[in-house]
């Protein structure tokens, strides 16, 4: 034992606190910088910060740090996905009979356009094209919710946008789960019936979401309707659901969407309070997007970007076609359909969420998938938040001056 043992080691090792704190502060700076442009949403600043600090930039955020921070990203996403599930109002769908067909058409047409582009035009393998096209169905929930919050947007376009995002995430998650057995069969040549896995994931995730909802209401009955305890209860239920889903190898996304949707549709006694996650959650969202930015790499914007651009255009066209086709019967104006289509632009990443089971089961397949969609995702990380922001402002539902 030396006389200087009480001194810290040099160089000091980064711990979780340091990583979280530094990501937060760096993201904050990036967000404020974006805000000063009056055109870019703060999210773009967070993503740009992550890109600058990540392996594609200065390299300060290496794979180890990213892995260490994954729990933060998953928690943030959990809050967002639960919130999104609360937008899946089935009573609305029963009153507006065009709502569900329009949402499904929007999902299916973006799949068809993407599949045609990748498989028919691009000659990509059927299964790979189908998986990539399914991922393309989903709009990034985190991006749209954060831009909505940032602009304090509310109104018919915002409400429909959140409904579509919730629905297209459900469709994409179910789609990927259905495709999983085929991916697994190809990757491992599994001899057991791989359909069981899909059934387990889908049925299990629905059951978990519903069971969590029952526990949720039971607790709510005990604690009453004060906002502060209800806030803690909600966050606690989300974390527990994420934990159980991971342990049980279920879909975190699906379980939380089901939990949120149950909270919205089955709380007949109105025990649950629609808590606003507010500024506390904002901390985690900043880190989520800095980490997201760190997954980007300059080569994704190189020559391969043309593939990504085609991907983006095909996806956008599919969504827009469906929205315009249903606009008249659904009593939506052309302007609302256009802004809605634009607002649905952001696309979700691969590292967490919908595509995660693929990486768990078949990492090589996941790598090939990345090669197909990564430049599209990269482009949409840049354009998506800007498009949603622009659309909500054009729809007259978001106030550019509302940032805080």
């Amino acid at each position: 034992m030396s006389a200087t043992d009480f001194l810290p080691h040099w160089p000091p090792a980064a711990n979780g606190f340091l990583v979280f704190g530094l990501l937060l502060l760096a993201g904050l700076l990036g967000g404020r910088l974006a805000a000063t442009t009056r055109v870019l949403p703060a999210i773009t600043g967070y993503i740009a910060t992550g890109f600058l600090l990540g392996p594609g930039g200065l390299g300060w955020l290496d794979a180890g740090v990213l892995a260490q921070s994954r729990v933060i990203a998953e928690f943030s996403l959990g809050l967002i996905v639960f919130d999104l599930g609360r937008r899946l109002d089935l009573k609305w769908a029963s009153h507006d009979r065009w709502l569900l067909p329009m949402g499904i058409a929007e999902s299916l047409l973006s799949f068809v356009e993407l599949f045609a582009l990748l498989h028919v035009v691009g000659g990509i393998d059927t299964l790979e094209a189908a998986v990539a096209a399914t991922i393309g169905i989903a709009t990034a929930p985190a991006v749209v919710l954060l831009v909505t919050n940032e602009l304090k947007a509310d109104g018919p376009v915002t409400r429909r946008m959140l409904w579509h995002v919730a629905l297209n995430n459900v469709v994409a998650t179910l789609g990927i789960t259905v495709l999983l057995p085929f991916i697994e069969a190809r990757a491992t040549g599994a001899s057991w019936n791989p359909v069981a896995r899909s059934l387990w994931i889908i049925a299990g995730s629905f059951l978990l979401g519903y069971a969590a909802f029952r526990v949720f209401t039971l607790f709510a009955r005990l604690i009453g309707k004060s906002p502060a305890p209800q806030f803690i209860l909600t966050v606690g239920m989300i974390i527990v659901t994420v934990g159980v889903a991971e342990v049980s190898r279920l879909s975190v996304l699906l379980a939380l969407l089901v939990l949120g949707a149950c909270a919205r549709n089955l709380d007949h006694e109105h025990r649950l309070v629609d808590v606003d996650f507010g500024r506390a959650a904002q901390l985690f969202f900043v880190v989520l997007f800095v980490l997201t930015g760190a997954t980007l790499h300059p080569h994704q914007f190189g020559p391969i970007a043309w593939v990504g651009l085609a991907f983006v255009v095909a996806r956008g066209l599919g969504k827009a076609l469906a929205l315009f086709a249903f606009a008249w019967p659904a009593h939506i104006s052309a302007r609302q359909a256009a802004t809605l289509g634009l607002a649905l632009t952001p696309m979700t990443g691969l590292a967490i969420g919908i595509a995660q089971p693929i990486y768990d089961i078949a990492p090589e397949f996941g790598a090939r998938l990345s090669a197909i969609v990564v430049s599209g995702i990269a482009i949409l990380y840049l354009l998506g938040p800007i498009a949603t922001r622009f659309a909500l402002i054009r729809a007259g539902e978001g106030e550019p001056a509302a940032r805080d």
Binding site: H95, D96, D154, K225, V273, H331, G396, E399
Partner: protein, 369 residues
């Protein structure tokens, strides 16, 4: 500046303007969906007119002109059903009530018409604070002098209307202890209050010309009085009522106004300028305490519970209501007087549910019928 022309209309015809709240069905805060709702519902509205109001979470129903309470009630119910059906398709709800219990006025968006933008420019933050919801009752007047008489004669009954319609106990998230907090918002406008004591239309025109020449008003719309003549419609407009929680109550109050006007024109009680001595006090008491307020009579010098005076008034005008076919309206108001107004109902809901979100949810369900 030409003199104001008063358009003659049939005596005791009547109509209603109702300002309504648009709320989302998630947390029941106000929803800025007026534009979309009006675009969808206007072509289906049975009669009358649907209009925007100062901020985007408000819509206004203007009924057509009626002679009978039953017709007015039928039209209001039909319009309500059309609006409610369209609102459901948009996933919003409509609620009555003079204020939204917990909305934050600073979050409101001005409805972008030339008039509302100019009001916003002129009055600053008051424009957004004006996201309160009232019922206006128009009574048809055969000539301008009768309109002036009715306008002055009704001033004594302003507390009665306030207490009957009071439905704004909660404002900005708190119980204000008022039955009608809405009128405190209206009071902030410089041209609110009461029409000056004038004897006839010629005298009123001289007052109006003076105000116009001084550059204080540009039209009658600039007066935010409790009761004002509406020369282009040929009516007197009673503006002190909160929007009730149901269209039925709105029609009953209109029926009360019609019968009261009938009695006033027939009996022609003398109007003393002394009513101005007590008006603000009586008005405050009705806002603050509702039926439990005190009414001071400047002629007798005494004071009495407002509820007693209202009960007597309802009995006194009953023959006129019978002649006009609105006895059902008056008997419903008698029940209200004994069982409590909408403010009391709202407080009961809050006591049983514990959250203002639940109160608005119940408010919206009640309005939808």
């Amino acid at each position: 500046m030409p003199a104001l022309d008063f358009t003659s209309s049939d005596a005791l015809t009547f109509g209603v303007e109702l300002e309504l709240q648009l709320v989302n069905t998630r947390d029941f805060n106000l929803a800025p969906d007026a534009d979309d709702l009006l675009r969808r519902a206007t072509r289906d509205a049975p009669q009358g007119e649907l209009k925007p109001e100062i901020t985007q979470s408000m819509v206004e129903i203007n009924t057509s002109v009626h002679r009978h309470y039953a017709e007015l009630l039928a039209e209001l119910r039909a319009t309500r059903n059309v609006l409610a059906a369209h609102a459901r398709k948009m996933n919003v709800a409509i609620a009555g009530g003079g204020t939204h219990p917990f909305q934050k006025w600073s979050e409101r968006k001005i409805y972008p018409t030339e008039r509302f933008l100019s009001v916003s420019e002129k009055y600053g933050f008051l424009a957004k604070q004006f996201t309160v919801f009232g019922q206006h009752v128009h009574i048809g007047c055969p000539n301008a002098d009768d309109a002036i008489y009715l306008n002055l004669a009704l001033i004594r009954y302003v507390p009665h209307f306030i207490a009957l319609a009071a439905s704004s106990p909660f404002y900005q998230g708190v119980d204000t202890a008022f039955d009608s907090s809405r009128l405190s918002v209206v009071n902030a406008f410089p041209l609110s209050g009461t029409m000056p004591f004038v004897r006839n239309w010629a005298e009123f025109n001289r007052y109006y010309d003076r105000m116009f020449d001084l550059g204080i008003v540009a039209s009658m719309k600039d007066f935010y009085w409790d009761i004002r003549p509406k020369p282009e419609y040929g009516t007197v407009e009673i503006r002190v009522c909160d929007t009730p929680l149901t269209v039925d109550r709105a029609a009953q109050i209109a029926g009360f106004a019609q019968a009261l006007a009938s009695w006033l024109w027939e009996v022609r009680p003398e109007i003393s300028p002394d009513i101005y001595l007590v008006h603000s006090y009586n008005r405050f008491h009705a806002c603050r305490h509702g039926f439990a307020g005190t009414l001071v009579d400047p002629v007798t010098g005494g004071s009495r519970p407002l509820a007693d005076d209202l009960r007597e008034t309802l009995d006194r005008i009953a023959p006129h209501a019978a002649a006009l076919g609105s006895q059902d309206a008056l008997s419903a108001l008698h029940t209200t007087l004994s069982q409590g107004n909408d403010a009391a109902w709202l407080r009961t809901q809050f006591a049983s549910t514990g959250t203002l979100t639940d109160v608005v949810r119940k408010q919206a369900a009640l309005w939808a019928g």
